[in-house]
Structure formats: structure tokens, C-alpha cells
Amino acid sequence: MLLEMTAGAFPDREVLSHDDTRLSAAELFAAAGAAAAELRASGATRAAFLDISSPALPVALFASAWAGVPFVPLNYRLTGAELDRLIEQITPCHLVTDPARAAELGTREGVTATSSADYLARARGGAAPDPSWGMDPEEIAVLLFTSGTTGPPKAAVLRHKHLVSYILGSIEFAAAPEGAAALSCVPPYHIAGVASIASSLYSGRRIVQLPNFDAEGWIDLVVREGVSHAFVVPTMLVRIVEALEARGDVELPSLQAISYGGGKMPLPVIERAMKLFPEHTAFTNAYGLTETSSTLTVLGPDDHRSAAASGESEVRRRLASVGRCLPGVEIEIRDEDGKTLAAGQRGEICVRGEQVSGEYLGQGSRVGSDGFFPTRDAGWLDDEGYLFLEGRADDVIVRGGENMSPGEIEDVLVQHPAVADCAVVGVPDEQWGEAVAAAIVCKSGAAVEAGELRDFVKSQLRSSRAPQHIVFRDELPYNETGKLLRRIVREDLAEATS
């Protein structure tokens, strides 16, 4: 539907670039139609995609919507056993994947496998069927296995009504000028990877794909393709900033906007980035979940500028917030008993809106009778509705009956000049139930004593927040989309401190 509108409005506009492969809106529409016919003929009830980004990805996404078969992007970094468990849940499926896996998995019962390259070639060569479609808003559009930082992956259910509400609520059709291009370097199995395809096409921006992120490749592609918009996760921005600082003389005249999200952005990184990027590059921070069809809140370019320029600490700290709700989204902060908390108080972030699904395959909906979905993320709102994240609600450290959020302590530690990165977790403690423990990564060439870091925390927070245990590590465990794997840090530190 979204693609048909784009193809109808400007059929000849180039909407996808991947190395030398370029597709116009009309070509993408025709390919999706031919692929939809193949998908219907396969008899599959799920359209799985297990590969890095390529032009086959948007073709497969729109073909699945056209054919009325849920789209299921799978994480190509999972092990064979992990993938087997996911694939079992989605047969009979049509699977687009790399050639090796196509050969291996194609022999399984209930799996029709094809390589991305063959799939794309057939779709581009095939006859476009009659462009008739009916969309049932209640049908499942996408099944997305969540990253599972706290447990085994669950499949979040996004119905057409959720995704369409998100797109219509946040994007103006065809608002992008000719020549606008969005660099997509988020993997297909991440909600931002899926949502950005729909939002770029709907707004009329060309999608420029970078399947395997590295900072140098990203910078080169921005220059070569005249990229105007890019979404990155915090770890990517850290590397881009470092690479730009190392190169010194790179100019990025086309780059109008960088949006970031998917994990906590350390304040020093965004401050450095705002100084380093040209003045015409606007920054937007977005917070959202798979279960909420991507973005819920936005800290826009004006928020960034006014916060960075402000002398008032209340305004300045908003640079570390994720901004305010999109229209059509409501947020409440609630305590453990479900009571709504006032501004400034920490609790669980609960959200309501038509784009919010909150449903998991086989497990039903977690949305309450009042329409609010408890995100399990912890945070607080300031007086003007800016949302500050404090990590997962489950990450709260309970020390002697006192609840504390790791994020608050990490925010202080990372400001120490010797600290490059850090993670704070609770570890078992006989006296307190839990004790505060910190894993510290020092900047290269820098060193600091544990005692100095404790004093540094005490100088800004209550003394109970000062980490009882401090260990130094070369790096912290992140998943590939920039989420800290806190469970692994917790296991590491529990062992190191026992």
C-alpha cells in the first residue's frame, strides 16, 4: 500500500541504492508484486528473511505485505541451534537467505529456501501481477524476535494497524525533496531496519544500504551517495566520531540529519559529535521498542541545540533525555503497584497508542485493560515531559532496601576523564542483599585507581551509590545493535567479586 502510493506519485524516482544496484519506485513495486506471486504459490504461512541487507530486503518486506503473509526477519548472527529453534516456530515458511544456508535449510520439511540474489533476479524478471491488494489491519504484518538481552528471544507481533498508525502518525507522505537519501546500516532483524524502509519510501527518500557497518565505510558512503539522513545506534556514532577525529579533513556537506537510538547514548559522545559535525547536521534522538512499532519519543534538533546552549542545568540535562512523545503516544511512569507517579519520580515506563502492539506470539498481549503497555524500561519524566531512561526495570539494584538505577551511576562514572565506558550492576552481597559493582573500561593510555572513582561518584551522588566493587576490563559485551548485555556483565562481576 505504502509502496504503491510512492510508485504512483513518482514512479521514476530512484528509491534504493546498493553498490551498483539501483531501483526506481516503479521497479521496486513491480519486483515486490512478482515476489508476492512467488510467495503465494509457495503455500508458506511465514516469509522469513535471514541475510544481510540487500535490495532483496525491501522486495521481500513489501511482497509479504502484498501477499498477506507475515514477514519474519531472522538474526543471521545466531548459531545453528538457536536458528533451528526459531525456524521450528515459523514453518511452513518461505526463506530468503545466503546461498550456503539456502542449500542447507532448503532440505528441511516446511522450508522453501532461496538465495537473496536468485530471489531478487526472479522478482525483477517476473511479471507484475494485477496490483490488487486488500489490507486487513488486524492481520500480522511482521513477527520480530526481540533481542532478548534478559532471556530467550520472543516473537513480537506487529499487525498492519500498528505499523500503518506509526507511519501515518509520524511521516508526511512525499515530504522529502528529490535527492534526499537515507543511509540504512541497521540489520534487517532490528525494528529500526524494518521501520526505516517503510518510512523512507513513504516520505520519498532513497534508501542507501550499508550491510556491514564500519565507520570508514559509513563516511565514504555518505560522501559518495550524497546521503542526507542516517540512523545509527550509539556504538556506531562513537566509532564514526573517532574515525572523523582521526581523519580530520572530511567534509560531509550533504548530511542534514543524524538520528540515533537503540541504546543509551553517553552524554560526552553526543556533545563531542555535535561539535564535530557541521552546523547544518541536525541531531535527533529516538526511543522506541520493537513492541511499539519503533519510535515513541523524539528529542529533536531544536531540543539538542537549545539544551546544548543552555546555562540552566534543568534544560541542559535534556541532552541526555530521549525527548518527548510523538503525537498519538502517551507515557506514564508507574510504580510497582501500577500507581502513576509524578514528574521527577523514577518508575516503569508505560505507553499507550495505536502503534503499540505489546503482543508476543503464543503469549498474548501484555497491554493492560487501560490500554497501557508496561515496557519493563525504567525512567522518569521532567516537568515538561522529557523522558529520561534508566535502563531496564529489572536492572534496578536493591541495596539494603534502597532501589538504585545503574544508569544514574554510569552517567557519573563515564564523565571521569580516564573512563571510556562502564557498566554498573548489582552483585549478591551477604550484608546488603545486593552490592553495587562497576566494570570500567579505561581510555587507551589512561589509568585510574578504584578509590578515586568511588570518590568521584560520592562527589555527585549519595555515598550508597559508590560502587563497592570496581573491576577493570578491556571491553564490555555488546550485541551488534549496540545494546549492553547486562546479564553477561552481571555474571562476570558476580564471579569476580565472590
Binding site: 489490507m135 512525499a174 537515507a182 538520528s259 519510535t295 529533536g300
Partner: protein, 103 residues
Amino acid sequence: MLRIKPGNRVQSAVCATELMVVQAPDADLDLRCGGAPMQEIGADRPADAAVDPSLKAGSQIGKRYVDADGTLELLCTKPGEGTLAVGDAALQLKEAKPLPASD
């Protein structure tokens, strides 16, 4: 008269306009375009179809049109020249607030 639900598509009987239903009241609607009742998508247009010359406000692709009490919202998926209306009451263009790209 048409009974429409979110996700349904309708077309003008007299011009190229196509709409998708975003929101609709649970009732029969006298939805019109260019003065003539609208049809389900794919229906044959009458041979003598013509837009009423006094009802040529037109529709723009990607824009949303709403009724006065906000119970009906339609997305234009193909533009045309006829005025969109329920009965004699023309639908209004819903203004969108520009937002920064977030993904």
C-alpha cells in the same frame, strides 16, 4: 451508501481518486466524490461518469481527509479532481505537524 472499516479501500465513480480508510464510524455512510457516491475499489465506473463542475476541490496523495466531528479519516492513495464529502458536507484536509526523521 457504503459500510467501511479501517483498511478498506474505496474509489471515486467519477475521477481517479482512491482512498484508504484510516478510521470510520460503524454506520452506513453517504461518501461522495465530485458529487457522485463512492464505490468499493475495483468496481466498474459508470460510463457517463463526470465530476460535478462545482465540486472540483480535488484530493492530494498522502493527505488525510476528516469529517467535522473527527470520526471519519481517509488517506488519499491516488489523487483526483473531485471534492470529497459525506452527503453535502465537504471533508477537510487534516494538517500534519512536521516531525524530524527518527529512523
